[in-house]
């Protein structure tokens, strides 16, 4: 792995409804570290890409993932033509959603913006719940970042954090 260079970060403060990082401006791979995204009430975490800093809400998100709960059967999930990439229903009184993303081809004007993710969370069961997957924003134009929100309208508790790194020399 090449050097990691921090590009930007967003830290939840005063109950925001979205957390967004931008700054992808090269063909390098980018790494996103996600920590303690906790909803104000139990809610489903989701994400979207940004283009020119604007969050994309079109129906162009495809995702496949393998969910691995610690106290239930594993699930193979997929969806196409969604308005966001949704994941687990996060429990509001513990430590929330943790993840590491690798973002590919975001800077390309002729390829889809693609990412892989590995997650672990405390979900509303409650139990540890995580998994692995990948997503595409199926629009062949450049994206410059990623944004998180809760689909049911919950806000982020303070200190939730997303940090975007560039993998240099990749």
């Amino acid at each position: 792995m090449g050097k990691l260079k921090q590009v930007s970060k967003a830290v939840a403060s005063s109950s925001p409804s979205t957390l967004k990082v931008t700054g992808i401006d090269s063909d390098s791979v980018y790494l996103l570290v996600v920590r303690n995204l906790i909803p104000s009430s139990d809610d489903t975490i989701a994400w979207r890409v940004t283009k020119g800093g604007t969050i994309q809400t079109d129906s162009e998100y495809d995702v496949t993932r393998e969910d691995m709960p610690t106290a239930a059967s594993f699930q193979s999930n997929s969806a196409a033509n969604q308005t966001s990439v949704t994941n687990a229903t996060i429990e509001s009184t513990r430590n929330g959603f943790q993840a590491i993303f690798h973002l590919y081809n975001f800077n390309s004007s002729s390829e889809f913006s693609m990412g892989t993710f590995e997650t672990t969370s405390i979900v509303s069961t409650p139990q540890f719940f995580g998994g692995n997957g990948g997503f595409n924003h199926t629009v062949a134009s450049a994206s410059d970042g990623i944004s998180f929100f809760f689909t049911g309208g919950a806000t982020f508790k303070d200190d939730g954090q997303i940090v975007l790194y560039k993998v240099e020399n990749s």
Binding site: M1, T70, A71, Q98
Partner: protein, 169 residues
């Protein structure tokens, strides 16, 4: 300067039944990466397990929950459990001197909260290739200062364990 900081490098070159890497988790960072390479054992099939360390030593009570996907050439397995004494197979399985490798991310170890783990590993066990995807954590709220890697039986013969932190500016 990289935002991925090397905190510790531990090399094992003779049989040991327990490897502790302590005083790497601090309040300075909240997201860590552990990389294991060249892991071999003195027995043919062995699990590589993980526990965390707090001020009381190695945490070995029934406070670990995990779920992992084992991908073998002979078939796949979905395995999960709660209230376990370790994160079993957190770094996969190995076969004697054929070696294996893996990495894990540890989140929030040094604040008094749940400690989260995300891992993946690959290697040989028996005569087949085995790959692992792993999630889990410590279901008690405690501040961890380090971690302990140990085999399911007998000894780890060789290993290189590197611990990194993601620095946030």
């Amino acid at each position: 300067m990289s935002n991925l900081i090397l905190l510790d490098s531990t090399d094992i070159s003779s049989n040991t039944s327990s490897i502790s890497v302590n005083n790497v988790f601090t309040t300075d960072h909240n997201f860590y990466k552990i990389v294991l390479t060249n892991v071999t054992a003195d027995t043919s099939t062995n699990d590589i397990n993980l526990r965390f360390i707090n001020s009381g030593g190695i945490i070995s009570d029934s406070s670990y929950d995990y779920a992992w996907l084992r991908m073998r050439t002979s078939g796949f397995n979905d395995i999960n459990a709660t209230n376990q004494t370790s994160l079993a197979n957190a770094f996969g399985q190995i076969n004697s001197n054929l070696g294996s490798g893996g990495l894990g991310y540890v989140v929030n170890p040094n604040i008094s909260s749940r400690t989260f783990f995300i891992g993946k590993a690959g290697g040989m066990s028996g005569t087949e290739t085995r790959s692992f995807k792993y999630i889990g954590g410590l279901s008690s709220d405690t501040a961890c200062t380090g971690f302990n890697v140990f085999p399911g039986s007998n000894n780890i013969a060789t290993a290189t364990i590197r611990t990194y932190a993601f620095k946030v500016n």
